[in-house]
Amino acid sequence: MSTSLLQAQGVAIHFGGLKALSGFELDIHQGDLKGLIGPNGAGKTTAFNVLTGVYLPTAGTVRVAGEVVNGLKPHQINRLGLARTFQNIRLFKTLTALDNVRVACLADTYPFFSRARIEAARRRSSKRSGAAAAMAALNNYVDWWRAMLLTPGFQREERALTVKADALLDVMGLLPRRSEEARNLPYGEQRRLEIARALATGPRVLLLDEPAAGMNTREKADLMVLIRELRTRFNLGILVIEHDMKLVMGICEEITVLDYGETIARGNPERVRTDPKVIEAYLGDSYLAAQGMSVPGGSP
């Protein structure tokens, strides 16, 4: 059994009196393709925000690659191998497609302290190590100087970044658009650029928040193929939030259903599709009654 790349145990978050999420469990391994569905306001995006460190969970723990990430900042969690896209596209609007990806390519450089040394310092003390952070910061400072002095090494790295970003754009079919400003791209391409950008951070788990929203049937079909392809090509575990049932049912091996922050069902698509609680959450029990379907405890 492979190790868990992303794991949530009993995660809950409350805003004032509102329980936006409670008892949330999740486990993603390499090669997983799981789905998260639920009616509007069920807490799906909130779950993403907790997993990626935007919100601090009220209870429970989130682990990324085995490390507890409660209280870490989003960029630190991202560095551990968790990347996401946004439901309401949040590209860097006035930057070109290439630059959007290059921002995310931002690799840690080690001009002063070696990677091994920082890792060693990190391991020596169990918690987040101040020394390691200071060394990483110093590396970054030195790197600014390399940029300002335009050293040959820096120029090489910039070229390497561009090559890497171009490769990702190519995978997502955006290479011809690389010099276009992100805000000028059509909707479907913006969604794909968001995925390219997330991939550029070198994730092991990818969270996709409604990747098909606003796409037409043709684009959705392409997207389904693409998501499967990304999983194998980049050795990812993927979690998708999606309203389009056809897409979710079509690609996900396991689906978790949320309603009012509670997990009401979990299982393979077939099981979820026929679960009365799920149908009730989506359609309301009056609909069920009208259709003469089995309402728990009621007779047709």
Partner: protein, 346 residues
């Protein structure tokens, strides 16, 4: 320049500028009015370009730049006063002066950079208008503190600082700040700053340590504001807290906003125009209007400057909030002979 071997690309422009400015120094060094005018312009260009790194590139609106200029001016000026009677033996007097000036620029800039770090670390957690107001508050705090310190001459300020800032030194500093701003913009770090401007949440989610990057941008910006202040201290007869009120901050903000947030060349052009215009008008009135009426008119130019800045800001926001240049650069228009044009390289 694109064909230069990689190791030379870093230093070549600097050497070229040094040579050119050195030659110019020989030519214009003897024209006191021109040197004065170009000094005032140069200092404002440094201020505008450095503020643009924070306000334009990083999208964090700061309106307390004068505070950091004050730190640079006072620390650099104080150092120069202490070193006044020293001279480095074995080299010509003028060169020794310039080396001392360089030292006080470095120290003034560093002090301002430290101040920037101390101010930036807590305040950059705030956003938008709250950040603006808190930077204004810090800028004014710095001024109040300085005007209460005995070492800095309290309200009277410092006088007798050696007047050693030269045309060459000032424009070399201008050149360096522009070069640094441009190279940052073209680097991975600059792209991270731009990403923060565009969408902070997304930048953070893509692994950019937004707080650290904002603070670094702020420190670099403050450093150059300090350099500008130290230069300023070396060509005006006296520096006092009155030179660094938030009126000065707003003046710089006006330049950055008018030029276009995020456009380095916009900041340069706006700083040059907005500095020269009143100076030219003033000298014009003095020349044309005769001694009596001319002096009165010239005085009017000074008075009218601030309300004009105010009206300019309002008109700009109403008609062209992105500024004259937007976020475009002058040099994007000539990518061929300016080798590393941003879009050209891609």
């Amino acid at each position: 320049m694109a064909s230069l071997p990689a190791p030379l690309r870093g230093v070549f422009p600097v050497l070229l500028a040094l040579l050119l400015l050195g030659a110019l120094q020989v030519v214009v060094g003897q024209l006191p009015f021109f040197v004065y005018l170009s000094s005032v312009v140069g200092v404002n260009v440094i201020l505008a370009v450095s503020l643009n790194i924070v306000n334009g590139m990083t999208g964090q609106f700061s309106i307390g730049h004068a505070g950091f200029m004050a730190v640079g001016a006072y620390v650099g000026g104080k150092l120069a006063l202490e070193m006044k009677d020293l001279a480095i033996s074995g080299i010509p007097h003028g060169v020794s002066d310039q080396l001392q000036l360089l030292a006080s620029l470095a120290v003034g800039g560093a002090a301002a950079g430290v101040a920037g770090f101390l101010v930036g670390l807590p305040s950059l957690r705030l956003r938008g208008d709250y950040l603006a107001i808190v930077t204004l508050g810090f800028g004014e705090m710095i001024r109040v503190i300085v005007s209460n310190l005995e070492v800095f001459g309290r309200a009277l300020g410092l006088s007798g600082i050696p007047q050693t800032s030269s045309f060459m030194m000032i424009w070399m500093c201008v050149f360096v700040v522009v070069l640094v701003a441009r190279r940052i913009q073209d680097s991975a770090h600059g792209r991270s700053l731009l990403a923060i401007r565009e969408d902070e949440v997304a930048a953070e989610a893509m692994g950019v340590d937004t707080t650290a990057y904002k603070v670094r941008a702020f420190v670099i910006s403050s450093f150059f504001a300090g350099v500008a202040g130290a230069l300023f201290a070396h060509f005006v007869p006296i520096i006092n807290p009155g030179s660094f009120t938030f009126v000065k901050s707003i003046e710089v903000v006006t330049m950055v906003v008018a030029g276009g947030l995020g456009s380095i060349s916009g900041s340069i052009v706006a700083a040059v125009v907005l500095t020269l215009l009143p100076e030219v008008l003033r000298s014009l009135f003095l020349q044309v209007g005769g001694l009596e009426g001319g002096a009165a008119l010239a005085q009017k130019v000074d008075q009218i400057r601030m309300p004009v800045y105010g009206i300019l800001l309002v008109i700009l926001m109403l008609s062209r909030p992105q500024g004259v240049f937007g976020s475009r650069e002058l040099w994007d228009a000539f990518p061929r002979w300016w080798g590393r044009g941003r879009r050209a390289e891609e």
